[in-house]
Amino acid sequence: MLRYIFRRLIAVPLLLLGVATVAFFLSQTTRGDPLSAVVPERQMNNPEIVAAAKERWGLDKTLAERYVIYVSNLARGDLGTSFTTRRPVSADLAERLPATFELVLAAMTFATVVGVGLGVLSARYQNGPIDHFSRIFALLGSSLPVFWSGLILLYLLTVQLGWFPGPGRLSAHTPPPPPITGLYTLDSLLTGNIPVFLESLHRLMLPAIVLGWSVVGVITRLVRSSLLEVLGQDYIRTARAKGALEGRVMIHHALRNALIPTLTIIGFAFAYLITGAVLTEAVFSWPGIGSYAVSAARALDYPAIIGVTLLGSLAFLLANLATDIAYGLVNPKVKLQ
């Protein structure tokens, strides 16, 4: 097991290097001239300004030189400087990461609780009304564009019904809690600031539901099908035969086994959540990596886009790794191999 984890850990930087290389060459073969992004159009005829800009942004070097510089910078965590914010991309990302992390974590929690819950209920009452409802609910979630469902829910629940506050992590009047983890809900709780905790939680809920809903479907489907398979196993009959009631059979015996395959879906769900987070944040003005990526994309800010992409890929790879490790820990049979 340890050797397996080690081997997988080694693969992560190699894959990242591949990813970075792809990202680099993409950025170099750009048709839109990156120069135009940093030099105002009326200055384009001024050779001094153009040369200065080229030097400042490293556009005067050869491709190979730039690649070596790029990769060695990356290794030090230097993702370059954003064209638009004029700050190091890594600093921008570090500042915005907690907001995205908080959103994705909340969405994952929502998706797991609802997905597993609906999966259990639809397996228990197979082909009953709950089963049909959860099928439709799940299907809607995976078919709705989050940037639209977010908008519609924002209109219905916030504008019309007033159940949820407007977009953003906190209102402009509320000072954010002192940064400990960067997660507003957690930090406000740690510092005992209940009003801020409640506000940040309230504002987190709607985007998290919108985002989480998009992966409820895959979780529900998998929990349902693996539960149905597990419920047909001999050891379920054994559990009943030794006097366990149906609820206990479901939770203690069936769900435990059914969750093993379900774990594998979490890496996949995570990838989906990163995708969705980009769009959800744009709708909810959530000051995270996603809205950063969208504004970078609109401004053709390559260092920023590539920085986000690299960070996203790293998160993606680590999530898959964590999933595999968790799978090994939960399944006693893997330990021996």
Binding site: Y235, T238, A241, K242, G243, L245, H253, N257, K333
Partner: protein, 331 residues
């Protein structure tokens, strides 16, 4: 027989099981009667598909929801088929233990053997502490002769050998000192030498704990050494029953005789294994008359008229129109 009270431990009357299938019901069990005395061992014999397992699953209501069960199954004064789920759960694993054919699939793969035995103990004794339950689990493993029970108790099912798993399954089944043990093909999935050990273990437990048993098997040889009485099932009915020796030496039913003929002979003669030609009838489309008729070499015209009733024939009860003709012949 060790009768302690007049009433038998288990008394089943007219047990019927139908399965809902597309376009109607398929009848799997067609009126089975069965009694088991306290401490008595009854062998339930038949080919796969004869309904022996289904009828026992039906008693404990372990069949899927598509099954419709009717009849009376009086266990120590209460009807198992009309208990609430909660009342039934006290009997399952408490006063009736069950052993299954394949101990690998019958254990939950993600829980240790110990955890599963502890669960069985604590389900029936809410006051039992975790520590006491684990101690008891080790004792139980020792009782079924599993070496190093203190270490084994923390292992997972896949770390046990087949025979050891079946011993652990038996330990779990007897953990609450049941009055009745239903063993569904307990030795079928095991090697021959291991089979003998498991049968020996069951025999010993029966004597020590005075447990009544229903031994489900397709192998009359398994029944021979352990059962007091034998019931032979075919196509969802009991077609012959009696004391074990009478069934072995004076069977009046061609089907039982076929099963007996298929047994390897004890005298070691290298006789060709005789089977019964053909396959059991389907549940949906049974032949008219005796269900065994299409495969029976003694069949006559009368056999096609109606199902033969289970009637006394010599020392046994047999459901065969031509049983008288068979009485003289040695099986």
């Amino acid at each position: 027989m060790m009768e302690q009270s007049k009433e038998p431990l288990l008394e089943v009357r007219d047990l019927r099981v139908d399965f809902r299938v597309p376009g109607g019901y398929a009848t799997a069990i067609r009126g089975v009667d069965l009694t088991v005395g306290r401490g008595e061992v009854v062998g339930l014999v038949g080919e796969s598909g004869s309904g022996k397992s289904i009828s026992m699953m039906a008693l404990l209501r372990l069949l899927p929801a598509a099954a419709r069960v009717s009849g009376i199954a009086r266990f120590d004064g209460v009807d198992l088929l009309s208990l609430s789920p909660r009342e039934l759960s006290h009997i399952r694993g408490g006063r009736i233990g069950m052993i299954f054919q394949d101990p690998l699939t019958a254990f939950n793969p993600v829980l240790t053997i110990g955890a599963q035995i502890v669960e069985a103990l604590q389900l029936h004794d809410r006051n039992l502490s975790g520590k006491a339950a684990w101690t008891r689990a080790v004792e139980l493993l020792a009782e079924v002769a599993i070496p190093e029970p203190g270490r084994r108790v923390h292992q997972y099912p896949h770390e046990f050998s087949g025979g050891m798993r079946q011993r652990a399954m038996i330990a779990m089944a007897i953990s609450n000192r049941p009055q009745l043990l239903i063993a569904d093909e307990p030795t079928t999935a095991l090697d021959v030498t291991v089979q003998a050990q498991i049968l020996e273990l069951l025999q010993r437990l029966r004597e020590e704990l005075n447990i009544g048993m229903i031994m489900i098997t397709h192998d009359l040889g398994v029944v021979a050494g352990i059962a007091d009485r034998v019931m032979v099932m075919y196509s969802g009915r009991v077609i012959e029953r009696g004391q074990v020796d009478d069934v072995f030496y004076a069977s009046r039913h061609p089907y039982t005789r076929g099963l007996l003929a298929a047994l390897p002979k004890l005298d070691g003669a290298r006789e060709a294994l005789v089977g019964i030609a053909g396959t059991p009838p389907s549940l949906i489309n049974r032949p008219a008359g005796c269900a065994f008729r299409p495969r029976c070499s003694h069949a006559e015209a009368v056999c096609a008229t109606a199902e033969p009733p289970l009637l006394r024939a010599g020392q046994l009860e047999s459901a065969c129109y031509v049983s008288d003709r068979l009485s003289g012949m040695t099986p």
